[in-house]
Symmetry: C2
Subunit: 358 residues, 2 copies
């Protein structure tokens, strides 16, 4: 019998870091109160300003009414546009830099919702990036700003810094151990919000949880970033401990989840995106546990993105498909990607009775 | 793209055929009314008579109190002993011929419950076999017999022929199409009973259904056998049609079940016997559909038997294991048996939109 490999817990529990700033022009109604003509005027002021700012010269920019439903949904799946913004049409636009690290939504809830996003645990780096864009834009655009309150925003919950910092965390072990609710409650008490994959009111698919600050008023950006970073580091520790606990106390249970996930993904003929995400989460955990010889996080991340409904349809001649056909296409795609991936190799410690028998 | 193979529907829908006869000695109380000493006396009369009959010379014979719980349960899983008989101890016995086609339970509900069992759809052949044993025994033992009613039995439902003829049917397509309840109702109206894998009051695991006659009084054996054989042939036709319907109307659904079953069995780390049976049923269907290159019905049947709790423990040093350990051992065993079995190969007709695109 081969000796069990000691699995390492790599630092990819924090999938991505994101910071968004809400900004508005002074003297213009907020988008929700603005008439169509107002919104178009605002867009005509903001859009060229964003496109001309240093670093955004080669940005992708589209008016929302120029995008098809599939194109909009692809942007949502990439976390470059909010679900709310995807519903917008004339008078709203999006500007995204080539690296896809910066995105500015024009006339979402505010005149500008600009975000920086990077993979991994890099909140401060992301903040520097978005802060630079903000500083450059503020030189060109007259922001609605109150010396007493800070940045003015359409919704009072954003007044002040207008900043929401968030990280997407992959917490499969806390879910498997059934500790996740305790964590969510503790995080909420610290004034942070826990949300699902697509933000407010969405489900935690694929064991992904978004942690973000709730308050924007009365605290400086670096204080907020410090606090959320510390909480995230704590959650990461909890997830790491949960993984070690699982491996120590019940390796067969966790390996079973990983094995079945692989078996289903490699052989299903029809599969929903929800089931796909949950199973891919298990593959990802399996990679962290060094169980797969020929599977990388990059390939799982790619599968995760490519199997979402809009990506799937975009890669299939941009054709709108009914869910049943999507589920078949998704299964075919996943199988084709996993044909060369050998089944996971587990090293489960012998049962007690087996040890005794030796 | 390879041309879709036209799947053949082979004749293995009838897994096994069985006929049992209930017989009692005249002048002795039925086992349920007999005292221990009576039962022992009956056993001492019946057992040597059975062992000396032609064809039973090399039979396996055991008093039930000589068997361990695992040994008894193995016999139940082999359908050689009823669950009721397995609960018996002193004063009850079992005699089984070497081919395992004939088994006589002594002091079950009746003094003798003798059964013939063969694989496939061979009810009449099985009847000839058990009838021969019965004829030979009747020359040695004074049966309780009424010229008006026929053979006397402990339970009035068996009086007359004392015969129960049954066949075990594998009906996955009728289950997948959700037509099975209609079939069960129709069969019941014809005076036949539909039961699960282990007879009365048991679940239909692995999509296996036992069809048997209800009445034993007022009809000759060959009339009963004729009627049940015709009904079974009808059900087989329905199952065949259901398979063709599935392949024609929704191949992806049925292939999905088969693919997932393979994927789970080949990768699970813990699995109950119930889930195992249901998934093996899908592998079996996949073999019928010619989807597996290196899997045979014989190997699936072997897995089916070997993964049942008592067989599993018997093959594991005869050691009594808690269910959790059994589930792990079962998964390990199944994986080891499937390592060399390549994933099923499906040929799903292209989607309508794909056809249109060509």
């Amino acid at each position: 019998m081969s000796t069990p490999r000691t699995p390492e817990i790599p630092e990819n529990i924090v999938v991505s870091s994101r910071v968004r700033l809400a900004r508005n022009l002074e003297g213009h109604p907020f988008p929700g109160w603005a008439k169509k003509a107002d919104r178009i005027r605002i867009m005509e002021i903001v859009r060229p300003a964003v496109q001309l700012v240093e670093g955004m010269e080669e940005a992708y920019s589209q008016s929302m009414d120029n995008l098809t439903a599939i194109e909009k949904q692809v942007l949502v799946e990439c976390h470059l546009v909010s679900r709310e913004h995807a519903a917008k049409n004339v008078g709203s636009a999006i500007v995204i830099n080539r690296e896809r690290t910066l995105a500015v939504m024009i006339n979402e809830e505010d005149h500008m919702r600009m975000q920086g996003i990077m993979s991994g645990f890099r909140l401060k780096e992301v903040y520097q990036l978005i802060d630079q864009l903000d500083t450059r834009l503020s030189a060109k655009l007259p922001y609605a700003f109150s010396p007493r309150l800070g940045y003015m925003t359409a919704c009072p919950t954003n007044v002040g810094t207008g900043m929401r910092a968030s990280a997407m965390l992959h917490l499969p072990a806390l879910v498997l151990l059934d500790h996740i609710n305790k964590i969510v409650q503790a995080v909420s008490k610290l004034g942070l919000a826990v949300r699902g994959l697509y933000g407010e009111g969405t489900e935690a698919l694929g064991n992904l949880f978004q942690i973000s600050n709730q308050t924007t008023l009365g605290e400086k950006e670096d204080v907020i970033l410090d606090r959320i970073s510390k909480v995230i580091a704590e959650i990461v520790k909890h997830e790491q401990n949960a993984r070690l606990t699982l491996l120590e106390k019940n390796p067969r249970m966790v390996y079973d989840h990983i094995g079945r996930a692989y078996g289903i993904l490699a052989n299903a003929q029809t599969i929903t995106s929800k089931e796909t995400m949950n199973l891919l989460s298990m593959l990802s955990l399996g990679i962290d546990f060094a169980l797969f010889d020929d599977l990388t996080h990059a390939s799982v991340d790619q599968l995760f993105m490519d199997t979402q409904p809009a990506h799937l349809q975009q890669n299939h001649n941009n054709q709108k498909l009914v869910p049943e056909d999507r589920d078949g296409l998704r299964a075919d795609y996943i199988r084709s990607r996993l044909t060369s991936v050998r089944r996971p190799r587990f090293a489960i410690p012998p049962r007690k009775d087996e040890k005794d028998a030796h």
